[in-house]
């Protein structure tokens, strides 16, 4: 671990200015991922700008019915918030499915969006990894990859995004608020994460030095009946092998509106727009749900060790949508 400087910022402009003055600096939120990466030598910042004390720790319902979540809200507070639980239950469930109580107490919303992949090769500086060291190669492609991507990976990188929270945010059309040296701006989550392509080291469309100040969830009545289900190799404290955030509005046996996003299948939270298109207006039956999953998963390109993710995601879609349908009908 390299020696580093530490400074605490009191507001967003100050934080951004500190980073602009030192391109080798990183923002520090809860530190639950960054500090680990510093210990293992993956990250070697010269300066940490602590943004946890910034006045961005509120969750508010705006006049238009959208929910504004500050970037420094802890994962624990986000999951416990009554408006989140009422309006977007899948988001609360997703956050609670991640990490441990201690980590959720520290981890922030902004940091959660920027957490790095847990691909074992990325975290081990003695092995090749294009995401960590561009051009060194992808060890996982021909090595261990039983929990790697099935969608939209490239030969440069097959790692997945580890966040549970981001899967639910993707389902609900979240918009990320940013502060840069040029002022405030916004970026839809659908554009926030970049496709892998041949630059797996470039993970987001964040402008250089930009600070995430919050996330806005547009009003979405369908989200009030939503669910997050995570499948993992042990009952807690493990990243997903596959996960799903789903919301469903069914009337008279017909799907009026649906939201679907998958986790642990790609380098970014995977909004299943094709499945949503197939579902909408169709019957709320297990067969239709399976057909929708198949439509989305037609693009899947499983690797030798992770073919199980295709039936896993398919089964999750059918199970969770069936559960939501039964609750709607009841």
């Amino acid at each position: 671990m390299r020696e580093f400087d530490y400074q605490r910022a009191s507001d967003a402009p100050e934080a951004v200015a500190l980073l602009a003055a030192n391109p080798d600096a990183r923002f520090l939120g809860g530190g639950t991922n960054l500090v680990d990466l510093m210990k293992t030598g993956v990250e070697n910042p010269a300066l940490l700008v602590d943004v946890r004390g910034l006045p961005l720790d509120r969750i508010e319902v705006a006049g238009d019915g959208s929910l504004k979540i500050g970037a420094t809200v802890t994962n624990s507070d986000l999951a416990a918030d009554p408006e989140v639980r009422r309006r977007y239950p899948a988001l609360a469930e997703a956050v609670l499915a991640g990490a441990s109580g201690q980590l959720r107490n520290m981890a922030t919303v902004g940091g959660n969006l920027l957490q790095r992949t847990r691909c074992g090769y990325f975290g081990d500086t003695t092995k090749p990894c294009n995401k960590r060291t561009p051009g060194s190669g992808c060890s996982a492609l021909t090595g261990e990859h039983h929990n790697h991507a099935i969608l939209d990976w490239s030969e440069h990188c097959v790692a997945t995004n580890p966040s549970d929270m981001a899967v639910a945010l993707a389902a609900f059309d979240a918009v990320v608020s940013l502060h840069t040296v040029d002022g405030d701006t916004e970026l839809p989550l659908s554009e926030f994460y970049l496709p892998v392509g041949d630059t797996p080291d470039r993970e987001t469309a964040l402008p250089p030095g930009a600070l995430i100040t919050g996330v806005t969830l547009p009003a979405a009545p369908v989200a009030a009946r939503s669910r997050y289900r995570k499948v993992r190799e042990r009952a807690s404290y493990a990243f997903a092998n596959g996960s799903i955030a789903a919301a469903l509005d069914v009337e008279d046996g017909t799907v009026r509106d649906a939201r679907l996003a998958f986790g642990a299948v790609a380098s970014r939270p995977w909004r299943a727009l094709e499945a949503e298109r197939v579902l909408t207006g169709g019957p709320a039956t297990a067969e239709a749900f399976a057909a929708a999953a198949d439509a989305e998963l037609a693009a899947a390109r499983p690797l030798p060790q992770n073919g199980y993710k295709v039936p896993l995601i398919r089964n999750l879609v059918v199970d969770v949508l069936t559960e939501l349908t039964q609750e709607t009908t009841r």
Partner: protein, 720 residues
């Protein structure tokens, strides 16, 4: 500054304790004598103890799996802040070959030449004023290699597989009767291959050692399983007089077989010698995954042939395990089949596949744990094929003598375990058909397996001093690796001396106390108890003379070498039966264990509190072995793909349900204390009980550990 003194059993009264006959400390529950010290932080571990002028060593490990060191660029590192020295093969003290915990082991010959036998082999030790400086310098040290092709891929049909020579640790192959003919004549045959992966023991306390020269004597504070054994090895390796080495290992935060004779310790001694100041080396968690040993992968073929009534006509067990090109280690997985079931014809074979990996080592219940998974799974398959209840099938094949050796058992109460376990688990309610019970999305199933572990005894020496104040000081180079041994030995000494435990001061884990078998093989407490009891007898003879006790006390010693060696040959084992209920979601492959019960026959239980803790701990590990643990070899680099606790999963709290462990009467006088070591048996059979329960829930056999969700999902037929 010296190490703090050993915590002792506190005397609760000011008056000298009276010697009373008929104290019964053994068999009654007692909290750990050092428990308060441990929970308050007063107990110091090897990495905690401050020493004046202490320097810190940091290991540099090879990043290639095979080859030679071309260069080590020490210049820039030596210029870094606080750096005192970089030890490597060109400047390190020379060591004596032929030294090892279990015979000559080239793994001990560190920094002696430029060869790299595996990825993670120590190639240098950087010593600095602070641990942080040492680490920064170690991570900056540039080492280049001439790399050679490596082979790290374990397979049962690997061309390099060979049959290891029989020895004290390796059992001879057995060929008795005509296995092929008996199989051909069998009404039911099971012929399957079972595999277990590399598994890694991770003690809470990482390996740590401090070495210093003090008045011409090498003093070592280490975290190990046997201070006297380690002292003798150090003396041999560094060509020192045995009396000039002292090793202490007062508190050990878990060991599980991994804390024998550590590379970090050898390098700490080297650095202390070169620099002539105290040096400590502590391993990181990732380094623990490199060279402290692991349970090797196994591939086991089991063939069972039985009559229609379930009587075994043939039992074949071929166990192949991963070994190292540097040093052979044999995972004796056939120990289970050698001891459990009688058959007309028996074929038992052991092979190893040497690869360019670190030498595997002992890990809780070596051999027994993976072997029981294969054999107890195969017995469940035979129960299915013959339509017999799994317990009845096992009872039907109870042997009169040990099947492989032909020796009588010192005691064998496994049937009592089956019966008590079945009663308490509700086994009679089991519908033998698989896949019949559901709870929402979960399919439920139950399974059982037999447990066994050798219950040996080895020589030890002990001394007891009757102090002038009426208390007694026991000295024995025992190790308490978290098992509660210190407390158990206090109880044993109290009974042997016929005094209250408060009158006994138990001093352990100091090589100066003389030879004693280490904490391993489930033999520690049994072996040490014998020596303490003999010392108590010798002391009471001295005290019987009635002379007043002088200020320095009256001391008696005992050495059980002749007593242990003079016994007739018997198979001495602990037995048990484990039961598990699981829930399986076949649409996701998730397996959750809902309850486990283990009933054991483990001789005389000294301390029910710590005994239960040992058994429950073992069973928890059995669960973890069944569902989670797997070291994944990265073929390209030769190292592990998941060599840290982020990647190597063991059961989290949420995976572990209510686990119950208890025992039945198991009188056994083969050793005078009647104790059978129980530190390892808890892990034996658990994985098979869970695998058998998964079959009962799903109708699909899981023959490869761990039972990962992708294996369940792709094996099952229940997709939508």
């Amino acid at each position: 500054m010296t190490a703090p003194s050993l915590p002792v059993a506190r005397t609760t009264t000011e008056s000298a304790p009276t010697r009373t006959s008929g104290t019964n400390a053994v068999g009654t529950p007692h909290a750990r004598v050092e428990g308060r010290a441990k929970v308050t932080g007063e107990a110091r571990y090897a990495g905690d103890i401050p020493f004046a002028e202490l320097a810190h060593g940091w290991l540099v490990l090879s990043t290639v799996a095979r080859g030679r060191i071309r260069s080590i660029d020490t210049g820039p590192v030596l210029a870094m802040s606080g750096v005192l020295s970089v030890l490597h093969h060109e400047n390190a003290p020379r060591l004596t070959p032929g030294v090892g915990l279990m015979g000559p082991d080239p793994s001990t010959l560190l920094l002696q030449d430029d060869r790299v036998p595996y990825r993670g082999w120590p190639v240098a030790l950087v010593v600095a004023e602070t641990s942080e400086q040492a680490r920064a310098a170690a991570e900056a040290l540039v080492v280049t290699y001439d790399e050679e092709p490596h082979d790290v891929v374990f397979a049962a049909d690997h061309p390099g597989a060979y049959t290891p020579e029989a020895s004290g640790l390796v059992q001879e192959d057995v060929e008795r009767g005509d296995v092929e003919a008996e199989l051909a004549a069998s009404a039911a045959v099971v012929d399957e291959e079972y595999t277990t992966p590399e598994e890694y023991h991770n003690a809470m306390e990482p390996h740590a050692a401090m070495a210093r020269w003090e008045n011409g004597r090498l003093e070592v504070v280490d975290s190990n399983q046997g201070s006297n054994a380690v002292a003798q090895l150090l003396a041999a390796l560094f060509s020192l007089d045995a009396a000039s080495v002292r090793v202490r290992s007062e508190h050990v935060g878990g060991a599980f077989g991994s804390k024998g004779f550590g590379a970090h310790l050898i390098l700490a001694v080297m650095a202390a010698t070169v620099l002539d100041r105290p040096v400590r080396v502590v391993l990181t968690r990732r380094q623990v995954f490199s060279f402290v040993g692991f349970r090797p992968a196994t591939a086991q073929r089991v063939r069972l042939g039985a009559d229609a009534d379930g009587r075994l006509r043939a039992l074949e067990h071929e166990a192949i395990s991963l070994s190292s090109t540097l040093h052979q280690f044999v995972e004796s997985s056939t120990r289970h089949s050698r001891a459990l079931y009688g058959a007309d014809a028996l074929r038992i074979r052991t092979k190893v596949v040497p690869l360019d990996v670190p030498a595997p080592s002992f890990m809780r219940a070596p051999g027994w744990a993976p072997g029981s998974f294969a054999v107890e799974s195969a017995m469940d398959e035979l129960a299915e094929k013959t339509g017999k209840d799994p317990i009845r099938l096992r009872v039907r094949n109870e042997p009169a003598v040990a099947p492989a050796s032909g020796l009588p058992f010192s005691s064998r109460n496994v049937i009592a375990c089956y019966e008590e376990g079945a009663r308490r688990f509700g086994w009679a309610d089991r519908d033998p058909r698989p896949g019949t019970r559901r709870d929402g999305r979960w399919s439920l199933g139950v399974g059982m397996a037999a447990s066994a572990h050798s219950a040996g005894v080895a020589p030890a020496t002990a001394s007891i001093t009757a102090e002038a104040d009426g208390t007694f000081t026991v000295r024995i180079a025992a190790a308490d690796i978290g098992t509660g041994a210190r407390t158990a030995l206090t109880q044993i000494a109290a009974d042997a001396l016929a005094v209250s435990q408060e009158a006994v001061r138990m001093k352990i884990a100091d090589s100066d106390f003389g030879p004693a078998f280490l904490a391993g093989g489930s033999m520690g407490t049994t072996s040490w108890a014998w020596a303490i009891t003999e010392a108590a007898v010798a002391l009471s003879k001295k005290l019987a003379l009635g002379d007043p006790i002088p200020a320095e006390g009256v001391t008696a010693k005992a050495d059980t070498t002749e007593l242990v060696g003079g016994r007739d040959q018997r198979e001495s084992l602990g037995f048990g039966a484990q039961f598990a209920e699981v829930a399986v979601d076949v649409t996701t492959g998730e397996v959750r264990v809902r309850r486990m019960l283990g009933i054991f026959a483990v001789g005389r239980v000294v301390n029910p509190v710590t005994a239960r803790s040992q058994l429950i701990g073992g069973m928890t590990w059995g669960l973890s072995m069944a569902l989670h643990e797997e070291g994944i070899r990265d073929t390209a680099s030769g190292g592990l793909a998941n060599g840290d606790l982020a990647g190597y999963h063991f059961a989290a709290n949420a995976d572990v349900p209510a686990i119950e462990a208890d025992w039945v009467d198991d009188p056994d006088t083969y050793n005078p204390s009647g104790i059978k070591g129980l530190g390892e048996i808890g892990i034996v059979g658990g994985a098979a009980a869970i695998a058998n329960a998964v079959w009962h829930a799903t109708g699909v056999r899981q023959r490869h550990l761990p039972i990962r969700l992708d294996r369940v999902l792709t094996a099952g037929t229940a997709t939508h």
